[in-house]
Amino acid sequence: MDRKRIAGPELSVPPLFDKPQIVPQELAGEGRPDGRSPEDVRPIFLKTGLINQANGSAYIELGNTKLACAVYVLFFPTHCSSAFPRLITPPPRCSYGPRQNKKQTFSNMGLLNCEFKFASFSCSKRRGNQRDSQEKEYSQILSEALAPAVRLELFPKAMIDVFVTVLENDGTASCLAGAITAASVAIADAGLEMIDQVAAVSAVERSHHLVFPQRTQSFAKDQILMDATSAEEKLETGTLVVSYMPSANEVTHVLQTGETEGPVTVQAIEQCIDACSKIYTVMSAALVESLKEGERPRV
């Protein structure tokens, strides 16, 4: 039992909703409930610098999916380029000196420590306060997706902490994609040298088996829906998250679930790479914006 939090009842459940048995028309049909075409991503809102205690931070909204990311560099990077004046005068009370890393004795590369958390109220089902195995896994994916882009060799022995909190989950795959995008922008906002920005996007593969459950039907009717909402995810047969560095032309992470024929996935990956390039422009705009704000005198 958790004695450090206000305890609730031992067991509680959400009330059972009497779900309509049939799938609503708009989900079963060819179109999408919010009127997007299958290859459209939801509008993205991305802003840096909302968490003023952090060295770098970003807040992202993908439709209803909302998440915040903060980067703490517990080491003052001496090799950093002077293009980022904010680093020269770091936020007050920012800890200095490499934080002791208990796990490893020595590492000649910087360590990227990512922590991914769903807020307890962020999903349709309440989540616990302790990190569960899915959150631990997403933390690892986050660090693997970002590591190819950050020049970790410049920070031996140092630790870069990346914290992501999901405030609202409208599509679990989109949360992971949003986390990678936001974390990449937050690391750049912190002024750490990177090879390229990492843009990420999610997609679901929807076959019509679930809607018309005849198992013999071919996969030809498969649809690839980019950046699905949680309502669309319920009907999925597979999900895909791709993170990509557009300028370096490198895929930094791929995660696919569900059974498909090879070509469908290959096509979906290509579509995701295209979408990543579009997201890249949003990320660049947000970063340019943050530099402009830096010029203004702070109140």
Binding site: A7, F17, P33, S122
Partner: protein, 336 residues
Amino acid sequence: MATDNADVFRRIQPHEYFRRFIEQNVRPDGRQLHKFRKTTLNVGAISTANGSAMVRIGGTTVICGIKAEVAEPKISTPDEGFLDPAHVQAHSSYATQHAYISVPNVELSPICSPKFRSGPPSEQAQVASEFLNKIIKISKVLSLTDLCIEPSKAVWVLYADVLCLSYDGNVLDASLLALVSALLDPGIMSLPYPMANRAPSVSNSFPPLVQLPKVTYSEGIVRALADEPVTRLTLYRIPVSTTLSLLAKRLLSDPSDAEESLADEQVTVTIDERGRLCHIWKVGGGSNTATPDVLKECIQRARARYGDVKGMVERAFKERRVVFVASVGDETEMDT
């Protein structure tokens, strides 16, 4: 170079640095001593929660999300910390059946400040959780009967998690305001289906309500009726807290993180809409500065602050806009 010297001075002799500012009746961030930082409120932003509110006070950002679940009530007598004895006596017939009201928890995660580490809640987070718990339970903000579904069978549990996203002092005021606003949030229960009919069917009017789906109880199963109008929950008091720090024998309203860490004493005054005191909490001491007169001054400032906050909350709900109070007696509005 001049700014560098000031920065060095602040780091080496923070007390002296602040004292010199305060002698001039101004704070390093340019505020006068009695001024509050810009306060912003945004309600109902999170559709996965039954109620939600985001509060920003200067550089402090907190989000409160409320999840309603169903649980079996406690059969044993609730312990003293849960309900005050007078209440148990007056309503002894149902007091044992409606024990769980809300479970507020404050999360000061490492995302909000380098001060905090991941893992179990820090002492400060535990103190903040207990502060909210006491105010909600002892000040009878919620009625126990309102949260009962079927006596001694099923009751509502409101899990109120307050998440700090950015920490710059005065997290208690921000947390309580977020919690109360989230309880007030008439955000519609997010239903899995149908998507198209998600437009809020309830008017956005005050009085304060939190909405729970209408439920039926039969044979141990609580079912929510998607089509029925939602049950409404009334807040009987609306507490708002005001935190002041005593630094160099002067009272500072709404202390920032730096001021909090230097303060000799800190007073948090919580009052309700009729100006009644709910809770006073004072930490620190020994410097003989918190005289009765100082405490009176604290309550005075809390009353003045209440008016501003109340106006802001009312307008936030009425107009569904982000509303903020710039500082005492100086209000501005902004569209979302």
